[in-house]
Amino acid sequence: MENGLIHVLLADDDEDDRLFFREAFEEIKVKTKVTLVNDGVELMNHLTHNGHPLPHILFLDLNMPFKSGMECLLEIRQNEHLKDIPIAIYSTSSSEEDIEDTFVRGANVYIKKPNNFDTLKKILEEVITINWQYHTSGLNKDIYLLNR
């Protein structure tokens, strides 16, 4: 069980970002299965569609068309079935106000989009490793806050 595949879901409307993200996960040593969706509407359809296993972590871009990351965050946290999914916000903003606001509204992780690939790899590996401890070591998800 411990070394099982980690399911990762990313919602991002930027194609380059999705590509970098997938490549980064291919290169880190933790084994993951990555699923990509293109916007918030697609994300909510994916999550509420029966039969999809819930991801171990959801990476959520804040600025997306049709339905923003913040709207998705609020919907997920109010949905009985989905509310326990760890959510990592993935954003270009590094303002302390944005960070605090997303945490207050239920995000667990806040990642400022890095501008180079190696940093992205390092951050994702670290987030996945810590996130895994929340799944396997009974840590309290109510106080799971991580800012990178």
Partner: protein
């Protein structure tokens, strides 16, 4: 009189498994013939008992030794971090080696191999987790928390807290308080 018996092995094995798992009152489901999903965290102790319970029937939990020992290491670390008074002052490596009766090098390698992290990082993570819980109950000052968790100073605790969570202890407290206020409004 001789009775001649025919077995339906898959059914036999499944019933035995179910009987044993029910006896341990576990919340589980059989994901496949070879895999059982247990929907709770088992302590190392309970996992050992389950393992020997199954062994009576010739059923073995594959990778049992490794996972059981790793679970025991985690249990020992968590027990250590959550001690009522104050963390033990002895070196954690000798504390764990003593407690688990294995060489530290052995448990340390095994732990890294199975968990994606090192014992040292796991201890830091657990200590910060404990610090978070103490911070939100507001019963102790940050100076008292630092002392309790064996940090040499408040600055040392704050730095490690920032390294692990990316937040200062006060920002962490502010976020949790705001979340509570939002919940109360709702």
């Amino acid at each position: 009189m001789n009775l001649y018996i025919k077995y339906d092995m898959p059914v036999t094995c499944k019933r035995i498994l179910q009987d044993v798992l029910d006896k341990f009152q576990l919340d589980y489901s059989m994901s496949s013939f070879w895999e059982i999903e247990i929907r709770e965290d088992l302590s190392g102790q309970k996992l050992s008992e389950l393992s020997s319970g199954l062994n009576n029937y010739g059923i073995e939990i594959v990778e049992s030794h490794k996972s059981i020992l790793v679970q025991k290491i985690k249990d020992a670390i968590i027990e250590m971090v959550y001690m009522e008074d104050k963390l033990p002052l002895s070196k954690t490596s000798s504390y764990l080696a003593d407690k688990l009766k294995h060489r530290y090098g052995y448990i340390s390698n095994l732990f890294s191999e199975v968990t994606y992290t090192s014992i040292e990082n796991f201890i830091i993570l657990q200590k910060i987790e404990r610090a978070k819980q103490l911070l939100i109950t507001n019963e102790l000052t940050i100076t008292e928390i630092a002392w309790k968790l064996n940090y040499s100073s408040v600055a040392h605790l704050s730095n490690q807290f920032k390294n692990v969570t990316g937040l200062t202890p006060s920002m962490f407290q502010r976020i949790i308080n705001k979340r509570r206020m939002l919940k109360e409004e709702a």
